[in-house]
């Protein structure tokens, strides 16, 4: 791992950015002086060039180009240089990293950050619109809010966020060790803060106010912020294209053996199709922004009609990207929903091939509908008809997807976990957005509602429902895999429901507003719209609160949530075959794909088998449990050991085999201990087996390891000063002898003696009179323990006479206590889980109390000298249904 600290890289990045800006100023100054351009201090030109070169300087500083520059300079660079790969602590997430898992999380952090900014803008918009008249923002400021809102949400949230989710999940789902071009991947990521930074920095120069659509001639007016917008779009576009190329190369060339394209998870199809859209459509928005930028800073006349320019041309070029852009923001989400619904309905995805083809159809048709954004623009009137036709037709493949998702749910086994809730919410919300889209596709209706709140309603229904809901579905679905922790299901449900209600509240009334006559992008409106606007503002605040719940959930769960198993959702795709979080190169062994990814309902069907490396010898399957050997004797039944096994079992992947070497110890004691341990573990749901083996610990362990070839050997011992094993240095000896990975667990002596962890065993209450202290009682208890593991409470009712504080009572209590302690110790040291209770009252009072308190599964009344029957009487009534056994432990000749 590269040793240089964060401060080095960020120092370089700042230096690069500042140096770039200064160099830009110098360059522009020189050129303008040399060529005599007037005026010398044209802000837009300086700002534009400074943004460009400063941005590139930042990218150089953070290290994006180091490898390639080093290679170009002839340095000794190896393609296998992994010094920037993987993350072992939080710092690695804050600098250049080539690991797709780290990049994916970095993408998510960045895009969610910009989502918060975009959301802030939305709240500012809604607060201004809460009532008619100006609340706090004038027209120009308001235009800045709405422009910034959409720009951030589209270019640096909705488009790249799927790059983040797919970056993390897709290579693992395909069985690859990383993306095809990890360094290019990192560069794509770092373009994003440059883009977002350029957008946000316009707050200092005057926010761009021509909306995200930036139509000239309005875009030719205004402050330098508009130039920063145009530049930011270029960086965002470059990021998008590079990522798309990377995805396509990975999907096409790096799938696991046996994974034909019809065996890929649908997310791979969705990401691949989206990437094709990105590669071929994004350059058009780049072109559109080049042209407006040239008009602004170079004085060209692309959009000046009196100089031969054409205003509507911009809209054609812009929308030729921006319509496919909405599919870029939707299709990956469709892929995520397919994964989530199949997993949480436990059914194969309905109509896999139709789903794949419909993705392609939507993408292809998506290139042919752009002018439906321009029905009222004054473009060539004849073009409206074919565009109406293609727009209406695109509803068909989209409909096929909706029907298929419903069919996947039909007759499934639906688990209403948070990811599934988001999927269901998506189905409802996107349906409404899609239906309103058909309205908009019909020209006469569009003429009525274009540029009104009807459009705002439609776009938020499809984008909130289609992008945001699917992003949250994906984030909750893969959260355990990414972080190794489980999120809080309760907070997740709150997040969903608040968002769902908030979405309807905020955007449903907008349909009415638009039809009734409220235009878009206005800071003020006719007072008759006051009530709906107020309701929508409340809805927007609800959405804000819901979003905060989400972030709270993510942060607290990541820090201190419960550990996540490898496959919490029992999914079948490849990412669930590796640990949570995955190992640094994803797979320790190459997966071999043998079937489709959604074979739920077929008992032995498998998507992939993982071939183990040679040392494991042989084939591992996705539901295999790897053996772990546990070597222990005197530490069996200790709380430490029980906790250790339980915590490992949370992975869901191990089968525990206990091997108990008894050297010179009493075999029966070891057997008893082992039986108790296994019973306790079984009570906690841990599958474990065990056997006693006579012999030296090193020999026994070695033989067992050779036979079982375990994934790991866990040696559990007493501390060095208190255990014979440690004194004999067995840890190293076993390690050398077996060659198997070893862990050593040390159990404090009193823990080993205590047997406190037996709470899952049934409780047996032993009522002893003077039998306490008798060897026969201990024998009887041992015999009962051997019959079936249990934990015991020995109860002795003293029947003290008054006064109970007197000398006689005290003496009797002391004697009883000594006897009880001796009995208990003797039993514990032979592996029985037992504790003792000495009670002052007479049996008829004390015993019923004890029965109520301990709620035993069985009662044994042990007595000597015939007292058992007498005691039994006191017990019988209070016992109720609990079985009572009377044992006469014979005569006692003293204790």
């Amino acid at each position: 791992m590269d040793p240089r600290p964060l401060s080095y890289w960020w120092g370089r990045a700042v230096y690069g950015a500042v140096a770039g800006v200064l160099f830009a100023f110098l360059l522009v100054f020189l050129l303008r002086t040399l060529f005599g351009f007037e005026p010398l201090w044209e802000g837009g030109v300086y700002g534009g060039v400074a943004g460009l070169i400063g941005g590139i300087g930042f990218l150089w500083g953070i290290g994006c180009f180091d490898f390639w520059l080093g290679w170009a300079k002839g340095a000794d660079i190896s393609v296998e240089d992994h010094s920037f790969h993987g993350a072992t602590n939080w710092r690695h997430y804050f600098r250049l990293n080539t690991d797709h898992k780290v990049i994916g999380i970095q993408y998510l952090a960045m895009t969610l950050f910009f989502m918060l900014w975009g959301g802030l803008m939305a709240l500012l918009i809604r607060t201004e619109l809460a009532a008619p008249g100006q609340q706090f923002a004038d027209g120009e400021t308001f235009n800045g809010f709405l422009s910034m809102h959409a720009t951030l949400m589209i270019f640096v949230f909705a488009v790249p966020v799927f790059g983040g989710i797919a970056n993390f999940a897709l290579p693992i789902m395909l069985g690859a060790k990383d993306m095809a071009f990890p360094r290019l991947n990192a560069l794509s990521l770092w373009f994003l803060p440059v883009a977002g930074g350029l957008f946000l920095s316009s707050m200092f120069t005057g926010m761009f106010g021509a909306a995200w659509t930036a139509y000239p001639p309005l875009a030719s007016q205004g402050t330098m912020g508009q130039t920063l917008f145009e530049l930011g779009v270029q960086f965002a576009g470059a990021s998008s294209i590079a990522t798309a190329i990377n995805f396509l190369a990975t999907i096409i060339t790096m799938r696991a053996p046996g994974m034909t394209i019809w065996r890929m998870p649908i997310l791979a199809w969705a990401t691949g199709v989206t990437s094709v859209l990105v590669v071929f459509a994004t350059p058009f928005v780049a072109g559109s922004q080049f042209l407006t930028m040239f008009d602004r800073v170079m004085g060209t006349h692309f959009f000046a009609p009196d100089q031969g320019g054409d205003v509507v041309m911009y809209q054609h070029i812009f929308w030729f990207y921006s319509h496919p852009a909405v599919y870029i923001m939707l299709l990956p989400g469709f892929g995520i929903i397919s994964e989530v619904i199949a997993t949480f309905a436990r059914k194969p995805l309905f109509g896999y091939r139709a789903m794949a083809f419909s993705l392609v159809a939507i993408a292809v048709l998506g290139f042919g509908v752009w002018a439906h954004h321009m029905f009222v623009s004054g473009m060539a009137a004849w073009l409206r008809v074919p565009m109406m036709i293609t727009t209406i037709i695109i509803a068909i493949p989209t409909g096929v997807k909706m029907w298929s998702w419903l069919a996947t749910l039909w007759q499934g086994k639906i688990h209403m976990k948070t990811p599934m809730l988001w999927a269901l919410g998506f189905l409802f919300t996107f349906l409404m957005g899609g239906l309103s889209g058909v309205f908009l596709g019909v020209v006469p209706i569009d003429i009525q509602v274009s540029d009104t709140y009807f459009v705002t309603a439609h776009l938020h229904y499809v984008l909130y429902g289609g992008t945001v809901y699917t992003v949250f579905a994906g984030l909750y679905y893969w959260f355990p895999k990414m972080t190794g922790k489980m999120y809080s299901e309760r907070l997740g449900q709150w997040h969903f429901w608040l968002t769902f209600v908030g979405t309807q509240l905020t955007f449903l009334p907008m349909h009415w507003q638009g039809l009734q006559g409220m235009p878009r992008r206005v800071a003020d409106y006719d007072p008759r719209f006051a009530t709906v606007n107020a309701i929508e503002t409340l809805g927007s605040y609800m959405l804000a609160i819901a979003t905060f719940i989400f972030f709270y959930n993510v942060i607290t769960s990541w820090k201190s949530g419960p550990k996540a198993p490898w496959n919490p959702w029992r999914g079948k795709t490849l990412e669930w075959l590796v640990s949570s979080p995955p190992p640094i190169f994803n797979f320790d062994a190459i997966p071999q794909v043998v079937g489709g990814p959604y074979q739920y309902g077929i008992p032995d069907a498998r998507h992939a088998v993982v071939f183990a490396p040679e040392e494991f010898g042989g084939e591992l399957k996705e539901d295999t449990r790897y053996p772990v050997l546990v070597v222990a004797n005197q530490t069996l039944v200790s709380q430490t050991l029980i906790d250790e096994i339980r915590s490992r079992d949370a992975d869901g992947l191990w089968s525990f085999q206990f091997v108990v070497p008894v050297g010179d110890d009493d075999r029966s004691i070891a057997e008893r201990r082992l039986a108790t341990t296994l019973a306790i573990l079984a009570g906690h749901g841990v599958a474990a087996t065990g056997r006693i083996v006579e012999g030296d610990v090193v020999d026994v362990a070695t033989e067992a390891a050779t036979e079982a070839v375990p994934h790991e050997l866990v040696l559990v011992t007493l501390p060095l000063t208190q255990g014979a094993w440690m004194r004999a240095d067995v840890v190293d000896k076993i390690r050398k002898a077996t060659g198997v990975p070893m862990s050593h667990v040390v159990v404090p002596a009193d823990d080993a003696r205590a047997i406190t962890g037996a709470s899952t065993l049934p409780m047996v209450m032993v009522v002893a009179g003077e039998a306490v202290g008798a060897e026969a009682l201990a024998t009887a208890v041992r015999a009962r323990a051997d019959a079936a593991p249990a934990r015991f409470t020995i109860v002795l009712a003293l029947d003290l006479s008054e006064p109970r504080w007197g000398a006689e009572a005290t003496e009797r209590r002391r004697t009883a206590g000594v006897a009880m302690t001796a009995t208990v110790n003797a039993l514990v040291s032979t592996g029985v889980a037992v504790e003792g209770q000495v009670m002052d009252d007479a049996p008829s009072v004390a015993l019923p109390l004890a029965i109520t308190a301990f709620a035993p599964a069985q009662i044994i009344v042990a007595g000597v000298n015939g007292e058992a029957d007498a005691l039994a009487g006191a017990v019988q009534e209070a016992a109720g249904d609990t079985p009572v056994e009377i044992v006469d432990v014979g005569t006692v000749a003293g204790s």
Binding site: A72, V79, E80, G86, A87, T88, N89, Y93, K101, K177, D178, A180, F181, P182, I245, L248, A249, T250, I252, T253, M254, R255, A256, V279, F280, A281, T282, P283, F284, A286, G287, S288, F290, F294, M298, G299, T300, H301, F302, P305, Q307, G308, G309, D310, M313, H316, I317, F320, W558, V578, S579, S580, P582, P583, I584, F585, D588, A589, I590, P613
Partner: protein, 208 residues
């Protein structure tokens, strides 16, 4: 937060990532083709602008009139010669690749040098033309579109020259052989794309 789990195995022993593709296609070539696709679309957007200005604006004569009432004139003959230089450079590059396939690394080097020389010549002549055109990008929409199209193309030629120089350097280091020359192939794809775009540009803007 670690992405390493406590397995004790960091096995990735199957060779360099991406150098041994599972399905036999070179990721580098595929990526270069996709990249060229995106650049083609960028030029398409600029050509779109050109076509709107040429055919879409009403009342516009063609070529448009400059401020002094004279129509814009483009140096078709000189540019035709320049075009031939560029087309020749594609052939010299192809010839160099053929020499490499026959095991002649020196032939490849020669071919690359000639290609670079021809490409640089093209650029210099273009710059000279710019100086002598008699109109600036700011004159009318047409001139802006003209400079944008040819300017973007010129920048792509420059990038192509850089790529070819990197290939040349690697050829000197004997990095390429009959068996392995993927980066060279990728570079030549790019150069041919630059050439084809120019031919189209020449026909659509200068000739028609």
């Amino acid at each position: 937060m670690a992405t390493t789990a406590g397995h004790g195995h960091a096995g990735h022993d199957d060779g360099a990532h991406g150098a041994a593709p599972a399905h036999g296609r070179s990721p580098l070539l595929l990526s270069m083709l996709l990249f060229i696709g995106s650049e083609v679309m960028l030029f398409a957007s600029l050509f779109t602008a050109y076509f709107f200005i040429r055919y879409g604006v009403p009342n516009e004569t063609w070529p448009p009139l400059k401020a002094d009432g004279e129509p814009f004139e483009l140096p078709v003959v000189m540019t035709l010669v320049n075009t031939l230089f560029l087309v020749m450079s594609s052939f010299t590059l192809w010839w160099g690749e053929q020499r490499l396939a026959a095991g002649d690394n020196k032939g490849l080097i020669r071919g690359l040098w000639v290609t670079i020389f021809l490409g640089a010549t093209f650029l210099l002549i273009q710059l000279n033309e710019y100086a002598h055109l008699g109109f600036t990008p700011q004159d009318r929409a047409f001139s802006g579109a003209f400079y944008t199209l040819t300017g973007f193309h010129g920048m792509h030629v420059l990038v192509g020259l850089i790529i070819l120089s990197m290939c040349l350097r690697r050829a000197y280091k004997r990095d390429f052989s009959t068996a392995y020359h993927t980066p060279l192939t990728a570079g030549s794809y790019y150069w041919h794309f630059v050439d084809i775009v120019w031919v189209l540009l020449f026909l659509l803007v200068y000739v028609i």
